[in-house]
């Protein structure tokens, strides 16, 4: 099985420096790309069926195709690498950032060339200190060896690249909020359309792609779209970083073919449940995805299949709920997070989420009422797509709406017994 993304990565060891990265074939894809027309690179990425790994799965080449090209395109154009990873339960981009920063930088340069961007930013979350040091060092090395700056490797193409370390807030990862943060403003999301592809940073054409998406690009350019599609067990191309946390025997992160079945990941890679614990459900792609349960274990972990099972692939890092953990308590933890991180712009979001948090808190403390279930359900509808400015609110509704469906008995027990059945007293 091929694992292009993690090929150079061995956790706990220093990442390859520039010389080691080159020795492993690194920057070969950039050399090849600079000999191709930008449109040829876009075509290869389109052929590869690469879909965005930031969580929404938007086809990467399609997103790039909206950027104005040619001599009369507005300038400068920007490419931003979204490395804000703050989705609870998600820890995949950190491995790529710490483990092989030159792979990311090569991916950014090639992607920037494909849309003819002039400036690239890496927007990195504050807590990733080790990643910040390693990415910064790699950018310096890349400049020094002519992979960045004016006339890259003697070509007509020039690109500046800067690291921006965020001052911390979940909403900064939403692409339009991120643009405001980069401009030195409060990170409230912007209205879409216009999409950033036509009017982004300082009103100029801007592409925002996640770390994992960009890391795939050099491999597609180097080994071709057909090879990339063949890595996958589904229609989406490539491999995927899947992770698991919670009470499994072997929590971790694995690069596997896109579309690997959930059961295989949980049983073969995560090692099944720890002794004494039973599986009850899983958030398949981070905190803002719907629960799936034992009946869905055969779902293939690709964008369309997980959607058909009623959830989303999201970030592909799954959080497992076991039978000794209270589902209401877990939802309280999740909704507390979303309430705290709401940027406060839309009423259903800031007011609805703190209301939801209060209802769940009351329920955990034995003050739940029979009418609460209906109230929670109506809140999940108000938070749903279309009622708010950004996807934070719909994301917050997902675990709750599916939790109410699959763990209804547990909610009812809290209300009838006037206490949390899992609490020790």
């Amino acid at each position: 099985m091929e694992t292009p993304l993690t090929h150079n990565i061995s956790p706990g060891r220093e990442p390859p420096d520039l010389a080691q990265y080159e020795k492993a074939g690194g920057y070969g894809a950039l050399r090849k790309a600079l000999g191709m027309a930008p449109a040829e690179i876009q075509a290869a990425v389109k052929e590869s069926n690469l879909r965005g790994r930031g969580g929404a799965g938007f086809p990467t080449a399609q997103k790039w195709s909206f950027v104005p090209m040619g001599d009369d395109a507005p300038r400068p154009k920007y490419l931003v690498c979204n490395a804000d990873e703050m989705e609870p339960g998600t820890f995949k981009d950190r491995m790529l950032l710490e483990g092989d920063p030159h792979q990311l930088i090569e991916g950014i340069i090639i992607s920037a060339y494909a849309i003819q961007a002039d400036v690239a930013y890496v927007f990195l979350r504050w807590a990733y200190k080790l990643a910040a040091r390693r990415v910064e060092r790699a950018i310096v090395e890349a400049y020094r060896h002519g992979y960045l700056g004016k006339n890259i490797l003697g070509s007509a193409y020039s690109l500046e690249m800067h690291l921006h370390v965020s001052a911390g807030r979940y909403i900064c990862g939403e692409e339009t909020a991120l643009l405001n943060a980069l401009e030195g403003k409060r990170a409230n999301p912007r209205a879409k359309p216009p999409y950033p592809q036509v009017s982004g940073l300082w009103g100029k054409p801007t592409i925002v792609n996640s770390v994992e998406t960009l890391c795939n690009v050099p491999h597609i350019v180097k080994q071709g779209a057909e090879w990339f599609r063949s890595l996958s067990r589904s229609d989406d191309g490539g491999t995927k970083l899947y992770g698991a946390s919670g009470r499994v025997k072997n929590p971790g992160l694995w690069e596997l073919p896109m579309g690997t079945p959930l059961r295989e990941i949980l049983e073969e890679h995560a090692g099944g449940m720890r002794d004494g614990y039973q599986f009850r459900g899983v958030l398949p792609g981070g905190a803002s995805t719907d629960f799936v349960t034992a009946e869905h274990l055969d779902v293939a972990m690709d964008f369309d299949s997980v959607q058909k099972a009623g959830s989303r692939l999201g970030t592909g890092t799954m959080i497992i709920l076991d039978d000794k953990t209270c589902p209401v308590g877990m939802l309280l933890n999740l909704e507390h997070f979303f309430a705290q991180e709401s940027c406060g712009w839309c009423t259903p979001c800031w007011s609805g989420l703190s209301w939801i948090e209060q209802i769940l808190q009351d329920m955990e403390e034995g003050r739940g009422r029979a009418s609460d279930l209906e109230l929670l359900e109506s809140h999940t509808r108000l938070l749903g797509p279309g009622h708010t400015f950004c996807a934070l609110a719909p994301g917050a509704a997902e675990p709750l709406q599916s939790g109410l469906k699959y763990f209804r008995d547990d909610f009812e027990r809290h209300i009838h017994e006037k206490r949390c059945p899992w609490s020790p007293t």
């Binding site: 609870p88 965020s166 001052a167 401009e183 030195g184 992770g243 946390s245 919670g246 009470r247 877990m330």
Partner: protein
């Protein structure tokens, strides 16, 4: 007034952006790095240097979690309170840390050594529970391990 060093560092970052305003978050971080936190004076200094209104900069500063508008201890402990760490027993650790340090989350020890802050997912969920002390991640925590870590910062 900004120190010479602060001014130099801010100018180096300002080159990464097409206008002065965009460097304001980085500037606040630089001031915090040197002074420990961002006081009203810090806001005024940065606002003056970047030709912004202090109130405008203040509204940016308060939006972001890692700009400290109150003094913090010598070491800042960020304890992950998000879902995977919650499942793996973060509440017990919060209790333990609170008992050991004699403070509640959000507070600083009387000797000014530690500030304890709850924090969202630190991106090491497969090794939950997790915390950071200053720049370092600590994972797979239990009370005994926490005692060792605290001792190493004495």
């Amino acid at each position: 007034m900004l120190s010479e060093q602060e001014r130099k560092e801010i100018e180096a970052h300002a080159r990464h952006y097409p206008n002065n305003r965009a460097v304001c978050i980085e500037a606040l971080k630089i001031v915090q790095q040197h002074r420990g936190w961002v006081s009203n004076e810090g806001i005024a200094d940065v606002a003056e240097a970047l030709q912004m209104k202090p109130a405008e900069l203040e509204s940016v500063a308060t939006f972001y979690n890692m700009i400290f508008r109150k003094p913090v201890g010598k070491h800042v402990i960020l304890l992950c309170d998000s879902v995977s760490c919650w499942i793996m027993g973060y509440e017990r650790l919060r209790q333990h840390l609170g008992d050991r340090l004699g403070i509640r989350p959000g507070q600083t020890t009387a000797d000014g050594r530690f500030t304890l802050l709850p924090n969202v997912c630190l991106g090491a969920c497969d090794h939950a529970p997790v915390m950071m002390v200053d720049d370092a991640h600590y994972q797979d925590l239990d009370p005994a391990r926490i005692d060792q870590i605290l001792a190493s910062y004495q």
